[in-house]
Subunit: 256 residues, 2 copies
């Protein structure tokens, strides 16, 4: 089966490297030829920056910014005929692809990708959605090469999961940033927190997060909450965030 | 060296089990005898619920709620003479112990303890503080049995670190709870997020959290932010939290 990648960012790179073992990746498209070239070199594929240079392939995998998926799909309509078109986004409905082909679907790897870090797809849940049963079969075949964790989710469910991921992961990472920034101003090493951050995340694999909540707010330890709030007097934004999240924990645990 | 544990909760339990290999743990005190008994049985120690039953020991380790440390220290004054008294708290100043003994210090294990989960102390940073050099030497000896990650931190630094831990860990765990609650209302499995949560935490071991921030806010993807906000219209508290943390990420990354 021949595959073309539309996009050359984090998701395209990790998917391309993983799929390259099983399929013939013909081309990598990016509006910036240099970016396409960088990934194409790793995949022994052709780099292109014009959609009219697209070759005929069995599957076109779009891994582009959410905000341009619908637009790129419309541009692809002229080139891909009835080939299978996939997008890889958690938050975009599958149906935006129907402008481009009769055969379309979604392959959403639920993971946070960094270009620098190797990814083991075997531990990544893949959420699949397809426009018809034949697409479903092809998509299952592709996905099985990547991971045993395969889920058939609707666009609405996928969107909910993506929102959950933003809350649990993107927002947590923001809190890590805030903690780092604060500790740096205090001359204390953020590195010390790293084992604790990892342990906190691991706990959730074994327990409901509600059941393993720790800290002064859930203990109702008003003296510590007050002390912390005082310590943040010079950083009013952070003080407000501290108070608000502490109040939210108290609401969730103590009042209910 | 003879040790007495004042307290029988998570920290007392994990410290007691780890120290029991190197020291003779004489007694476990808790105002609730049943709780003391449960830990004392595991340590082959005596359970007591009255301070006047305290035996003479070389070291008394207090692992009690932050809010009662000062009070318990004062009560101990009558019993422990010049023995070494330690507390194990991140947020309480060392000097509250001077009411009880000339020799006092802090042994703060920077970790989140759950009674259910075995702890490998070797990966836990220990923050030490001591009232005089002799205490410092004894404390170093005790700590070296537990972990190679030993730091000498002042009360002020320890308090900052504890505040950082609340932000990075307790608040993150709260966000995990919020995500779980939201996904449950949407009929989507929270389990799917677990690999992503762990990966997000692991990334911080390798990279500055600022550098690996992902999600719609840092991408400036207003369409997704708006969509997510709409999806939360029925949960105004969560909607507000979503908007606020997204705005904070935008402030941190885009505006600066």
């Amino acid at each position: 089966m021949n595959v073309v990648l539309i996009g050359s960012g984090n998701v395209a790179t990790h998917l391309g490297l993983a799929l390259n073992k099983f399929y013939n990746i013909l081309q990598v498209y990016s509006p910036q030829l240099k970016h396409a070239q960088c990934l194409a070199n790793q995949l022994d594929a052709q780099a292109i920056d014009q959609l009219y240079d697209l070759k005929r392939a069995d599957v076109y995998i779009m891994a582009v910014k959410d905000s341009v998926i619908a637009e790129v799909a419309q541009q692809l309509a002229a080139y891909i005929q009835h080939s299978l078109l996939l997008h890889t986004s958690g938050s975009v409905d599958m149906d935006v692809l129907q402008a481009a082909s009769l055969n379309y679907g979604v392959l959403y790897p639920l993971q946070t990708f960094s270009i620098q870090k190797a990814i083991n797809f075997q531990s990544i849940p893949l959420l699949l959605e397809s426009s018809n049963p034949q697409v479903g079969k092809t998509l299952d075949d592709i996905a099985k090469h990547l991971s045993p964790l395969i889920y058939h989710y609707s666009s609405a469910q996928r969107r909910s999961l993506h929102l959950g991921a933003v809350i649990a992961c993107n927002f947590s990472n923001y809190l890590y940033s805030v903690a780092e920034q604060y500790l740096t101003t205090q001359g204390v090493e953020f590195d010390l927190l790293k084992p604790l951050i990892v342990e906190t995340a691991h706990k959730v694999s074994q327990h409901r997060p509600f059941d393993v909540q720790t800290g002064p707010a859930v203990r109702g330890d008003l003296a510590v909450l007050e002390k912390h709030s005082e310590m943040l007097a010079q950083q009013p934004d952070l003080q407000q965030l501290y108070r608000q999240l502490s109040d939210a924990i108290i609401d969730l645990h103590v009042k209910k």
